[in-house]
Symmetry: C2
Subunit: 374 residues, 2 copies
């Protein structure tokens, strides 16, 4: 299911191959986020063209709209959204804790009100596995309890225990060939993270995610937790760092041996007119670009960069034209996927550390915004 | 420059070929509207893929944003927006009369305030030719005075006279290989339309447009004016009916011998979730489509119809996902271009009347909305 192809000789970075029911994914990989069954502004053909091998969607959002029945009748999520590659669905644990109203967490599951219409729903761990089985997700995430930062140790431990309990129940409820991962929680407490990782590994899952990161904590803490947990996970299983992050975060985490990433950043920044380039971030609305006829990134070969200038893209944002949101999103997704491809290439050649240094020297030089933003 | 290839034996419909600096256009043709240098939500590759041969843009809008200098420095509008096919630019006469604030019309030109920032500007007929020359438009429209419906006869005559005077001055100011059309005005007064057409034809232009239609008058009146004016225009020059219209309008006007059309309808309807189909209009948000897994139009081969169901498109609109706006816009543009292609094909075979009847019987049956909407 997961094949470790090569371990970089000078870092923890690793090259792998993940087999799913809808195809093979080269790792480390980045999964564009299609929360509601669409990667915002982009078509499946755009994603394919940009080199995406796997995308992420979200059980909580799709459960609310269009609902499980519609997707089931469509023949599953792949058919519904016309994406025939692998799909990982997040359980929605994170969304219930960040978006839903009036949630009540019990050991049996979560009661919550829809953030859209206030309707009351209950998710048990078994429900969430069943929903994802009906979607036909290639990789399913179990229901977990994701706490905010900072979180009192007592509560972090309760949430971590519950996450393990729910992982056990998810595993028992799981009866298909779809892959089921589990999620290491434990907030910023090292001993809780250790305990959680240890117990989940003993239970045995198809892959392991690090959850509860990128929830407002300092970046350094994300790196520490990632490094710690990655070291506790089995070498022969994929490791997924949830919701991370900026290019510099991905490089750090890949170095720690993370295999899978997802983040809304490329598309969210794209819709705001922030482009990722080899020389750092570029805010397309800024006036110096009014008569700048260079592409967003001279090193980029995406449709946007091959056809449109910064001046034109700025014009599209100034006139609130949707094509602008789309073209910068497309470029950003392309940038991320190209970064991951370059990371894989460097690992193959045992040159990850060198690549990371060179990339960051150029990328960070231009005063790229360093604050976290997810 | 314009070649009349075939005249339908049983109607006024005609098949032609229009040569421009950026390529040949088969007529009757539909020009997708890219007011601000972008056909809303669509890329040039999308347009090309849908079979667009020529698009329309707007001098008034582009003059305000990004400004003439930017487009000039980009090497012209084609380079700026990365569309290498023919472009017709409307002068902005219509926009000044419908959008701009506090306009003052003098014989010398129009003073107006930008609808964006209130800045004061003046357009003379000479300015408008110069702007379009700098854009590199393949087909330029002269400044005209477009009146509302209803319009008192006295004023309609003044505006018509001024339009002719401005056409004369535009012709004198025009020094390039770009094509310059003129615009027949005269509101709903037949004698004014006759006089205007006669004088413009005597002056001699590369093509003739019928302006001042689709400004709120009953549909029957548009048809009458179109029929009248088309009959007054020379056979060896292209005829362009500005801003029209719905598929049924295009069929009527093509029958009267119109060669060129533009309208915001396919993209505007697309962004509102109204799809044109061979069986009439389809409002994708309507609840019957929640579990309808057929394409928008089973006869359509566009990217949207080949890949996505009504249920999925409805989901995209319900969740306010931009991809929905884009996919239905793409389908609608495809529908229009396919309609024009079928019209051309039927003229070639002297079967236009038959095609029109068959198309409308199917299209209007399903209770397609009959009120005008431009």
């Amino acid at each position: 299911m997961f094949e470790l192809i090569h371990q970089d000789k000078n870092s923890g970075a690793r090259l792998g191959r993940l087999k799913t029911l809808h195809g093979v994914v080269e790792t480390p990989c980045f999964m564009p986020v299609g929360t509601q069954g669409t990667v915002k502004t982009l078509s499946p053909a755009d994603l394919k063209g940009a080199g995406a091998e796997i995308i992420l969607s979200n059980a909580y959002h799709l459960f609310l709209r269009p609902g499980v029945e519609v997707i089931k009748k469509a023949g599953g999520l792949h058919n519904f959204m016309s994406w025939q590659g692998p799909i990982l669905t997040d359980s929605g644990g994170y969304q219930i804790f960040s978006l839903a109203l009036l949630r009540k967490v019990k050991d049996s599951g979560v009661e919550f009100q829809s953030h859209i219409d206030g309707m009351r729903h209950t998710f048990s761990p078994e429900d969430v596995v069943k929903i994802q089985e009906e979607f036909g997700s290639d990789i399913m995430m179990p229901l977990d309890e994701c706490v905010h930062y900072p979180c009192a140790r007592d509560y972090a431990e309760i949430a971590m225990r519950r996450t393990i309990d729910w992982a056990v129940r998810s595993k028992e409820a799981h009866h298909t060939e779809q892959l089921l991962f589990s999620i290491v929680q434990g907030a910023s407490y090292e001993d809780l993270r250790r305990a959680c990782a240890g117990e989940l590994v003993d239970l045995g899952f198809d892959g392991y995610a690090i959850g509860g990161v990128s929830v407002g904590e300092p970046r350094k803490l994300i790196y520490n937790i990632t490094q710690l947990v990655a070291g506790l996970l089995p070498k022969d299983k994929p490791r997924y760092l949830m919701g991370v992050g900026l290019p510099e975060d991905i490089l750090e985490a890949a170095e720690a041996g993370i295999d899978m990433f997802d983040c809304v950043t490329p598309t969210r920044y794209g819709r705001n007119g922030s482009a990722f380039t080899s020389e750092g971030k570029l805010i397309i609305r800024n006036s110096p670009y009014a008569e700048d006829f260079k592409p967003l990134d001279e090193e980029c070969g995406c449709y946007t960069c091959k056809n449109f200038s910064r001046a034109y893209l700025r014009h599209l944002f100034n006139t609130e034209e949707i094509l602008g949101l789309r073209l910068v999103s497309l470029h950003n997704i392309h940038f991320y996927l190209k970064l991951l491809s370059a990371i894989r290439d460097s690992i193959q050649k045992d040159r990850f550390a060198e690549f990371k240094k060179t990339f960051l020297a150029k990328y960070m030089k231009a005063g790229s915004r360093k604050n976290n933003n997810r």
